[in-house]
């Protein structure tokens, strides 16, 4: 073992400003709400001030003592439905359809309104884990900006007029076998919808079905065809892989198709009982920091266009056809050599995975390397893709647009999707669309595409409709409605039924019919009810396809000229479909911590070269098109490369999402869907304020300078150091003297452990917390003032050289301190200690002094400076969790360990005259975590899962030296570096 300093003592930093010791950062550190003293309103005159004081005193007197409760109505059912007991939540199974693999859900329903999605543990493709999008789905359902009517050329119309219009048009098509009929869908994961589309093509043999989705698996598909001659999707089994090389594959980011991968991968990172034999090793090559890069043992920053050369070098070292060792002095040479050796040494237990945006050649090489490593069937399987009737999306759209321009398309039916916004810029989809005589569009919102069509049909949300959806492993999930369509929306099945001239056939009947084929006639009713109850049809997972590699014919990608331009979807609003979701806009992106904006990411060196700072507005030109957007200088970003985030700059997203960020699709051409070269940049001289939370809530500011490093919030060690001594954190023995009365001893003592080795910072917990606890959205201007309301935040730290830093992340909920600094300073006892160890927060007692937030060393308290909760939008009232108070202006709030869930479990335990079982209470963040990084339970019970984790040698408390005795503790991060690369 070398004499390097333990990693935990090396300084970590939050932002480049902190790294460079900028004054602005130092100033921010001093206050949690740096601009709280800044005047929000104009300075009032002395006289106005006195008047206001007098009035508020008088009002305080009136409101505190003489409030008469308003009279309320009770409205029981006329005829009550079966099983529904007022005040008790019910859970129904459904699935969230998603290209790349749907996710199984159990949705909590209060009196018929869905309020919260949990994972369906019986679903083999998602294992009970969920992601940010399924957590945010409830807000999407109740979004007041959803399209609420069917429109004909912009005017409200009826469903029957739509039926008449379509019938007439289709009658004309029947004579020409549908030669002028085209249907454009997104990727289809519903076998029922696929069957309907195929039936349509059978009915109109000259018609065509096209597919376009801006984020698609064209490259993976082409790669599989090159390597194996058939379209198969790789399903990695990370639980069985000892060494994983990721070529820009962000498999630890939140997405429905990733949740199982995250669980399996995290299973190999968790160290239990002081042992480390389990630990795998992850190498990541990528152009900008990602969740996967942050979790890596070795991360190398490389331009996305250079990754192909690295992949060829890796393939060459492993003796795969198509490999090319490349120049000896290449920046990746040493790294690839070490990775190749490591892979070769773990045959059958080693794996290479590739990101969707990498060219087909990289996908092909990776699959061939997997074959060479003898890993197929062991730690990677090849399955038919979850997407049905897969096709080359880019080609499919190009053909369609060509035909539209030639006037061959007479009827175009757009089933969801928003191609006017997200089609490649060079195709001019909007221009081609104008040439189609009859255009119909099914969509949730009146979006950019809806504007340009004849018929806009308002779509039913997936929580309002019947359908089926395949998981990543092929498992067929049932999509069950939780509520009748709020605005009489229609699903894709109902639209297709119209095209098939069966307008009376409901989606439910269509689905039942297709399920009958799978479940058989015998006992169908019983099996069908079971399938709907369970949310899936059992035994529908795909069998692995047997594949054999062949010598691929690989095209060489042309060399980079000028600046590289990279297009990537946003981790939260994705390709733009969630652009009106306030939770997703406001949640900090896992690596940039940006809210309410996308930015142009570039490296420190490139920024220095062009004299750019974060916030400078840049004009980017690419293939004759231009856009402007703010720069965000990103540590760990590749040089000479610009990353543009898709999904923003929407014109017609809704009130929340309109005009947020810039539209990167404006530059994305069909030749550069992933990345392209030859971009130029120019500083416009303007600046733009970006709301990033990376410098907010810094915790180590009050620590003595000489001890800051050893008291670092994130503790990290290498596995070698862990093996030497698993007690990574020096245990400080404190003399437990206090002037305060003895802590109350309740029946239980709640505590939490967060495993930093398993957490990937995907953010599902943050969205889940917002959904469960009615956390309000505050908007960009308030975030800039440091007033974000998230009860749970995920801090991100860099360490080392900004060019290629190590990245660490850490979720921070309330620590529920036993010696809570917040409690002792509250003048009105609005925050008090429960006998079970919670720092209770009583909103109706809080007078808003904010002393508690000031005294919280972890900075987890959140204050309602204004009335942030939306009291007015009727549909949003339905979205709220009725078990949690909706907070008003002027009160403090914070994480409660989901006390409503604790109380729910406590009451059912008491009614059954037993103790609460271990694992019976799952906090919202814990329940959704794909990595199972969070454990919660009774720490007084030595047999509880959480107690066992607290007994692990690498368990530590945050800022333990302050003697706050936090109930939330962490398991230190242990990395498994390759010694060859470390020296």
């Amino acid at each position: 073992m070398s004499h390097e300093a333990p990693e935990s003592t090396r300084r970590m930093w939050r932002s480049l400003a902190e790294y460079n010791g900028a004054e602005r950062f130092q100033e921010r550190l001093l206050r949690q709400h740096p601009q709280q003293t800044q005047k929000v309103f104009d300075a009032p005159e002395r006289r106005d001030f006195l008047k206001l004081m007098g009035a508020s005193l008088a009002l305080a007197g009136v409101s505190s003592s003489c409030t008469k409760q308003p009279s309320e109505k009770l409205v029981p059912w006329a005829k009550n439905p079966e099983q529904l007991l007022p005040g008790k939540a019910l859970f129904f199974a459904t699935s969230m359809p998603w290209a790349g693999g749907s996710i199984g859900l159990l949705v909590e329903s209060h009196m018929g309104r869905p309020t919260k999605c949990e994972g369906n543990a019986d679903h083999p493709a998602s294992l009970g884990a969920t992601d940010v999008w399924s957590q945010a789905a409830v807000l999407g359902l109740y979004d007041p900006d959803r399209s609420q009517t069917l429109l004909y050329r912009g005017r409200a119309a009826t469903w029957s007029s739509f039926l008449d219009g379509m019938k007439q048009a289709l009658t004309n098509q029947a004579g020409k076998q549908g030669a002028g009929l085209r249907v454009l869908t997104q990727a289809v994961v519903s076998p029922t919808l696929e069957a309907q589309l195929k039936e349509l093509l059978a009915k109109y043999p000259q018609a065509a079905w096209h597919q376009w989705q801006p984020h698609n698996r064209d490259n993976a598909r082409a790669g599989a065809l090159l390597a194996f001659g058939q379209d198969v999707a790789a399903l990695p089994r990370f639980d069985k892989a000892d060494v994983v090389v990721s070529l820009e594959a962000d498999f630890l980011a939140s997405a429905p198709g990733n949740v199982r991968a995250m669980r399996e991968f995290a299973g190999r990172r968790k160290l239990r009982g002081g042992l480390s034999d389990n630990l795998n090793r992850l190498y990541v090559l990528e152009g900008r920091p990602s969740c996967t890069g942050a979790a890596a043992d070795h991360r190398l920053t490389l331009r996305p266009s250079e990754i192909e050369a690295a992949a060829r070098a890796l393939a060459a070292r492993l003796g795969v056809d198509g490999g090319n060792p490349g120049p000896a002095g290449a920046p990746y040479a040493r790294w690839v050599e070490a990775a190749a050796k490591d892979l070769a040494a773990h045959k059958g237990r080693a794996l290479v995975v590739v990101g969707e945006s990498q060219p087909p050649a990289v996908h092909a090489l990776a699959q061939l390397v997997n074959e060479k490593l003898d890993s197929i069937g062991k730690c990677v399987e090849y399955l038919p893709p979850a997407e049905l009737s897969g096709t080359d999306n880019a080609q499919s759209l190009r053909t369609l647009v060509q035909e539209m321009k030639e006037g061959k398309v007479e009827i175009l039916v757009l089933v969801s999707g928003n191609p006017v916004y997200d089609a490649p810029a060079d195709l001019d989809f909007a221009g081609a669309l104008a040439k189609v005589p009859l255009r119909a569009h099914l969509s949730l919102y009146r979006d950019e595409t809806s504007e340009l069509v004849d018929w806009h049909v308002n779509e039913a949300h997936f929580l309002e409709s019947w359908s089926d959806a395949r998981g990543a492993d092929g498992t067929l999930g049932i999509v069950q409605p939780l509520i009748a369509p709020l605005y009489a929306g229609k699903s894709a099945h109902e639209l297709l039924a119209v095209l098939l001239d069966k307008p009376g056939v409901s989606a439910y009947d269509t689905l039942r019919e297709s399920a009958q084929k799978l479940l058989g006639e015998a006992e169908f009713e019983r099996k069908w009810r079971r399938a709907v109850h369970d949310g899936l049809i059992p035994g529908t997972a795909s069998a692995p396809v047997s594949v054999s590699g062949r010598k691929p014919e690989l095209k060489t990608t042309p060399a980079l000229v000028g600046l590289e331009i990279v297009f990537r979807t946003d981790p939260l609003v994705h390709d733009g479909r969630f652009a009106n979701n306030g939770w997703l806009l406001e949640q900090p992106r896992p690596m940039t911590m940006l809210t309410w904006d996308n930015a142009i990411q570039l490296s420190v060196a490139t920024a220095e070269k062009h004299g750019i700072e974060t916030g400078d507005v840049l004009e980017i030109a690419f293939e004759g098109r231009k856009l402007t957007g703010p720069a965000f200088v990103t540590p760990g970003h590749a040089d000479e490369s610009l990353t543009l985030t898709l999904g923003f700059g929407r014109r017609k997203a809704g009130k929340t999402g309109n005009g947020v960020g810039y539209d990167a699709y404006a530059l994305r051409t069909s030749g550069a869907l992933g990345q392209g070269s030859g971009a130029t940049l120019r500083k416009t001289g303007e600046t733009y304020e970006l709301a990033t939370t990376q410098e907010h809530d810094a915790m180590d500011t009050n620590l003595p300078e000489n001890r800051r490093e050893e008291m670092s919030p994130v503790r990290v060690a290498t596995v070698d150091r862990f093996r030497e001594n698993p007690h990574l954190v020096e245990k400080h023995e404190h003399e437990d003297t206090t002037l305060y009365p003895a802590r109350l001893e309740g029946e239980y003592a709640w505590g939490m452990v967060i495993d930093l080795n398993a957490c990937t910072a995907c953010g599902a917990c943050v969205t889940a917390c917002s959904a469960e606890n009615n956390v309000a959205v505050v908007g960009k201007s308030e975030i800039l003032r440091g007033r974000e309301m998230h009860w749970l935040r995920i801090d991100r730290y860099f360490q080392g050289d900004p060019k290629n830093p190590k990245i660490y992340t850490q979720p921070i909920p309330c620590m529920q301190c036993e010696n809570a600094p917040c409690e002792s300073v509250c003048p009105v006892a609005a925050t008090t200690h429960s006998p079970e160890g919670l720092n209770d927060m009583v909103y109706n007692r809080c007078i808003g002094t904010r002393y508690c937030a000031n005294n919280c060393p972890y900075k987890v308290r959140r204050f309602n400076f204004f009335l942030y909760s939306d009291y007015d939008s009727e549909s949003l009232k339905l979205a709220r969790n009725p078990d949690v108070t909706v907070r008003s202006r002027g009160v403090m709030e914070k994480c409660t360990y989901c006390v409503q869930r604790i109380n729910r479990a406590r009451l059912s335990a008491k009614k059954e005259d037993r103790r609460i079982r271990d694992g019976e209470i799952r906090t919202a963040c814990q329940a959704v975590c794909p990595a199972e990084a969070i454990a919660f339970g009774d720490i007084r019970d030595p047999q509880s899962a959480v107690s066992k984790l607290k007994a692990e040698p690498h368990n530590y408390a945050l800022l333990e030296e302050l003697n706050t005795r936090p109930r939330t503790t962490y398991l230190a991060r242990v990395t498994n570096p390759n010694r060859e690369l470390e020296s």
Partner: protein
């Protein structure tokens, strides 16, 4: 030089000191007790309803148990107001043509729910659960009073926090045998009047026994009710 103050000033000043103190005291008293006055708290104010439903008639007159209509009370946080269907179970047979019940029949025909005015209405930041109180032997009567004497419903207790805490601090003063939770007029000194086979004893004797038997904890921390 003439006197500035007339002799009466002495009296006036004394009176005004006393009166000032009295007025201030009364004001302070009014402010602090206002929440307890019936015109604020609605205690003992009978609430008019669209259909003048009488608990007195149904409970005392007919002897219907609370749980016959309030079906969720043992399972859920709320007791549950019966759907029209429950009413019609009897009223499609008895009093089936009574004009007074026309709104009921109309609701049943049209499926448009009836609207009742709330009598007991806790603030939304207090999370009360009926089922656990029944399980722990707190009778309906303890909070809702002698419902069997009310032709129209009224509150007998303020439902203020101080009133909640009075019982949460001293549950032994209010607990009763579980099987008697829906009994009106339960008296531990006369259990036989409620059909109980328990020997007569005082609440001071019975209360602590039941507290122990039912494992009643005196829950007074904030998150018991507020979250």
């Amino acid at each position: 030089m003439a006197q500035i103050f007339a002799p009466s000033t002495n009296t006036l000043s004394k009176v005004s000191i006393v009166a000032g103190a009295l007025i201030a005291g009364t004001g302070a008293f009014a402010l602090t007790t206002a929440n307890r006055w019936p015109w604020i708290s609605n205690v003992e104010v009978a609430v008019e309803q669209g259909i003048p439903f009488s608990h007195k008639h149904h409970v005392a007159g007919l002897g219907i148990d609370c749980r016959f209509c309030h079906t969720a009370v043992e399972e859920s946080a709320v007791a549950g107001i019966p759907p029209v269907k429950t009413c019609m179970g009897c009223h499609s047979v008895v009093w089936k043509d009574a004009p007074m019940l026309e709104p009921l029949r109309e609701s049943y025909r049209t499926d448009v729910p009836l609207q009742w005015t709330r009598v007991h209405d806790l603030p939304d930041f207090a999370y009360f659960n009926h089922s656990i109180h029944l399980k722990k032997g707190i009778g309906c009567e303890s909070c809702h009073g002698r419902v069997d004497t009310m032709p129209l419903m009224w509150k007998v207790n303020s439902l203020n926090m101080e009133w909640c805490l009075a019982c949460h601090r001293n549950p032994q003063d209010f607990v009763r045998p579980r099987e008697q939770v829906t009994t009106m007029g339960w008296d531990p000194m006369h259990p036989e009047a409620s059909g109980s086979s328990l020997p007569p004893m005082s609440q001071a004797e019975l209360g602590p026994k039941l507290v122990q038997e039912y494992k009643i904890q005196s829950q007074t921390h904030c998150s018991t009710c507020h979250r």
